[in-house]
Amino acid sequence: MKRALVVFALGALARHKARSLALGGGLVFAVALVAAVMFLTESLRAEAERAHAAQPDIVVQKMVGGRPTTIQASEREKLTDILSVRAVTSRVWGYVFVPALQGNVTVASAPAGATALSVANGVLAEGRDVTQGAHEMIAGAELAKSFGMMLGDELALSDASVHAHPLKLVGTFRSSLDLWTADVLIVDEEDARALLDMPADSATDLAVSLANPDEARVVAQTIGERIAGARIIERDLLARVYHLAYGRRAGLVLGALIPAILALLVLAWDRASGVGPHERKEIAVLKAVGWSTSDVLWAKLFESVLVGAGATALGLLAGYAWVFWFGAFGLRPALVGWSVLYPHAALTPAVDAAQLLGIGLSVLGPFVLLSIVPAWRAATTDPLESMRT
């Protein structure tokens, strides 16, 4: 009997096409929007944490007047004898604003003795690593494209320090690493100091690596005691930064979408709860030929399940395709951020079964439950009265 009711419900959906489309379309749109925001947020968190492990255990910055400033390279000596500290490196990096690009270029120095970057190890798309003292650079694919540069070309940034030497492009990063390198220039330390106008006895910050990363909190306290005005950033806390940063953005976007989603759900509710004269007559005829209230109730519930399940499936698919197959057009600038030197690399999904089931059930469950009221109202209609009206 239930099978016949399921078939009847499908037929009823086909007979009331406009109502079914309004209901299903609204649900598809709402599910796709919420799913896309969640997929994108989780993907960004996962990408940010992917390179997290390779970062130093502790970064030490210097604060003067409440603002970050350069740190004296000699401060490094105060940290080397702390137990558990394996190495302390003075890092030279910073930003050069390029008005023509309306963006900052992130200049980072290549430490001497670091593992060479190459096409073979998958970091570079073409070219080779910089040679110390040769005034060379590696640029992100997006940055090189914006400058219109090819390998062998030289770049002189007039907004950088007057001491900066023109830099020859000897390599570009793979475009799949764009999320980290879109605006990055890697040069040797001497060129970085010249570009950023940083004296030889200064550094942007100190990178501390530990023999036992679990001791980061204790070492951070010791560093705070030894360097006055130090701002100490522990690696383990950065995961929380990413979680908050992307969670806040997702919350903002979802908050902005609430009126649209509510409008769609109100429309869907209105269409679901309103029993038109044609449908009222149909139910009256069914009850007149012997259908019980329970049969009508089941048929109406099956209608809701069919619409809800189909719309949830389509909405999940649309949200996923929007973000990972079509690059989240329209949504990416709102959720991810905005920049001229914008990474276009595809995002990697970080969704799991629990998340997908959660989105699906959070829509399908309330929708089916809410449809009980209109279904009950339709099922308890007096057939004689319905036929008369």
Partner: protein, 113 residues
């Protein structure tokens, strides 16, 4: 006829399961492809000042959210509009920038490889 309709109905009911399984398979394949780049990412990350994603290069205080001060907004150029008036949440209207005089601030010398 009835059996075909029944099949369509059941397909609709179980369609979320099919979609979820399909998406999980696709996501797993994409993650596996990305995992092959793990070594490259680790090598690259050693050279970068931060593992923060390069999503807001137009604003120093948003470029490296873990190392900078996300709340300290200020324009990058004298008398230029704030490039992230909504704190990076959305782009400014592009016509605002049309009024900003662009100057040639870099020189590219074409050379051989």
């Amino acid at each position: 006829m009835m059996s075909r309709n029944l099949l369509v109905a059941w397909l609709l009911v179980v369609s979320p399961v099919f979609v979820i399984v399909g998406l999980l398979v696709d996501a797993r394949m994409r993650r596996a492809a990305r995992a092959e780049e793990a070594e490259s990412i680790a090598l690259l990350a050693c050279r970068l000042p931060t593992s923060d994603l390069a999503l807001s290069g137009s604003a120093r205080w948003l470029r490296a959210v873990s190392l900078e001060e996300p709340g300290a907004a200020f324009a990058d150029g004298p008398a230029t509009p704030d490039p992230d008036p909504a704190g990076g949440a959305m782009a400014p209207p592009s016509e605002v920038w049309a009024g900003v005089a662009r100057q040639a601030s870099f020189v590219v010398v074409k050379g051989s490889r």
